[in-house]
């Protein structure tokens, strides 16, 4: 059974239909790529998966359980984490504190008003471990807003990882990165692959075709093609739009 399963997702803003009907089932441990032209509705689909946008039709199941229409904090608590296409960090907090706030153990103490947060070495230790996995261990005390662009992209992912998620949704993680940055990120995501279920929106075909187990192409609010990178190369739609040239 799929860990996360979207069926017939339909979204409209006013009278503008953004998602016609999207089906997606991602089995546990799969790396599933999403691609499609600008404005195709990929981010909107993530917003539906993570409870930010309520679909007008369709359902989302997480591990067999219906989570359609739950608010984002509930879905996050069920183990769905996401990164953002437009970076969304706690800019005044240090990298470490950004990650700390993401820890489920910290969230469990969310209404503790009596103890100093900085007194808990357990949080600091967990946060440092996660920063180390994304290569930010030596920048833990730097304010998020003062980090370089590439480091901020890495911190985006670190904060999501801090949640210890079962499903990780990455929205264009390579966006704005130079080729070095993309390589570093590919290495990181490669290390995560298999350990958790990943759904990644990406315009960088090389990145996606190298890492994804399967890819869905979204266009006109629908999935127009789906398959392994190898299968997609044979796909008429992909060939026509010349998307498969990197595979």
């Amino acid at each position: 059974m799929a860990l996360i399963e979207a069926a017939g997702i339909h979204v409209r803003f006013g009278d503008r239909v953004v998602l016609e009907s999207i089906d997606l089932a991602v089995p546990e441990g799969e790396f599933h790529g999403l691609m499609g032209p600008n404005g195709a509705g990929k981010t909107t689909f993530f917003n539906v998966l993570t409870g930010r946008v309520k679909p007008s039709r369709g359902s989302i199941r997480l591990d067999g359980r219906d989570v359609t229409g739950l608010s984002s904090h509930r879905i996050a608590a069920h183990g769905v984490a996401r990164s953002f296409q437009i970076m969304t960090l706690f800019d005044e907090f240090s990298a470490r504190e950004n990650v700390t706030v993401g820890l489920p153990a910290f969230r469990a103490r969310g209404f503790d008003m009596r103890h100093a947060a900085a007194n808990d070495s357990g949080f600091a230790r967990s946060a440092m471990e996660i920063l180390a996995t994304v290569g930010l261990a030596d920048k833990a005390d730097i304010r998020a807003r003062d980090l370089s662009y590439g480091d901020r992209r890495a911190l985006e992912i670190a904060v999501a990882l801090a949640q210890g998620p079962r499903v990780l949704c990455l929205d264009e993680p390579t966006s704005g990165l130079g080729s070095d940055g993309v390589q570093r990120l590919a290495a990181l995501v490669g290390r995560l692959k298999g350990k958790l279920t990943i759904v990644a929106i990406e315009h960088d075909m090389e990145f996606l075709f190298a890492l994804a187990d399967r890819i869905s192409v979204i266009h006109w609010g629908q999935v127009v093609a789906r398959g392994t990178p190898h299968e997609l190369q044979q796909n008429e739609w992909v060939k026509r739009s010349n998307l498969g040239r990197f595979a």
Partner: protein, 347 residues
């Protein structure tokens, strides 16, 4: 590259050196205040408004929520103290708890309606609710005494079982308020540095991210507003004791504006102590400049505009920026504009 300050050990302390110094200085005030041409009652006012401004800053500074109708909760606390004394029981502790609880309840009620908002919409709704409470206070003549005020409120004695202190003397009352102020400062310092306080500060920076990390943003915004209203109410209860009466004008829009001005001038957006600095400057300016000219509010208003325009981090921010060479505090000060016009879009 700028590094954030190491999590200073102050954050983990129950009582910081700054608190001790402040309390010690405040404890000497009755000894010299008359000699510098001021009067002991001013000391009481400063303490009460400092408590109020610190409570207010939980919402404005810590949570980044612009509340411009906070006078309502201060006023409700004052009325609750008086009404409890007249109609329930004339016991100091019960009446102070009533001031805290009734204002908290009013805050919770308002929080229900506004906590899904932020920025300018939030500000407008706090003003609207503030005006409603203010109007109610004026119109409910039979309960509140309307514009005449609720008079003859007594400074009930502080009964500790083993000892009983009469507070009718201004110096005794000053020390009583100072003790409550000190306790409230410890509690609010703790709160701001607790996991809860850090989450509220995170929500200020990005509601979106916090929600996707599993935090019920609405509940945090509603609870910090409620707490702030309750502590403002406690300050209001003390104010009723100070004035021996409760009047509706503390609930008016322009009096609500005072606490905003004090907090911003002092630097509440960047410093825990900012609101206290602002209260000192405001009340002393009122008395010193006010003795020279009726137009003291004009001068204070000009100072306010100058600070918002040129030093949005306020006095406390300017002072610490002078101590720390780097500019991060200055930049943080721009949050004055950001929180007015909505969090994330303005970065």
């Amino acid at each position: 590259m700028t590094t954030s300050p190491q999590p200073s050990s102050d954050a983990t302390r129950l009582v910081t050196p700054a608190m001790l110094v402040l309390w010690l200085v405040l404890a000497t005030v009755p000894l010299w205040i008359a000699r510098v041409g001021l009067y002991p009652y001013l000391g009481i006012e400063i303490l009460i408004w400092s408590l109020y401004a610190l409570a207010f800053n939980l919402v404005l500074g810590t949570a980044g929520l612009p509340s411009f109708g906070h006078g309502a909760y201060f006023g409700i606390g004052a009325y609750a103290f008086g009404l409890c004394q007249f109609n329930v029981v004339a016991n100091l502790w019960v009446c102070l708890v009533a001031a805290f609880a009734v204002a908290g309840l009013a805050g919770a009620l308002v929080a229900l309606f506004i906590s899904h908002r932020r920025g300018i919409y939030y500000a407008f709704m706090t003003i609207a609710f503030g005006q409603i409470f203010w109007t109610l206070a004026i119109k409910s003549h039979g309960i509140t005494g309307g514009e005449d005020g609720l008079l003859k409120i007594a400074r009930l004695p502080a009964d500790f079982g083993v000892a009983r202190f009469d507070l009718s003397d201004n110096v005794a009352f000053y020390y009583f308020v100072l003790v409550l102020f000190a306790l409230a400062v410890v509690a609010m310092w703790r709160l701001t540095h607790s996991p809860y306080g850090r989450i509220v500060a995170a929500i200020k920076q990005s509601e979106t991210r916090a929600a996707h990390l599993g935090y019920n943003v609405w509940l945090y915004k509603a609870s910090i507003f409620t707490l702030s209203a309750a502590i403002s109410g406690l300050a209001g209860g003390l104010f009723a004791m100070a004035q021996l009466a409760a009047f509706p004008d503390v609930m008016s829009l322009h009096q609500s504006g005072y606490v905003v001005m004090m907090t911003l001038v002092g630097g509440g957006l960047v410093s825990f102590w900012g609101p206290v600095v602002g209260v000192f400057v405001f009340l002393i300016a009122r008395d010193v400049i006010g003795a020279l000219t009726n137009a003291w509010m004009l001068y204070f208003g000009l100072l306010f505009i100058a600070i918002v325009l040129f030093r949005p981090e306020g006095i406390a921010g300017a002072v610490s920026a002078a101590f720390q060479k780097h500019s991060l505090i200055r930049r943080q000060g721009n949050s004055a504009m950001r929180l007015l016009f909505g969090g994330e879009r303005w970065r």
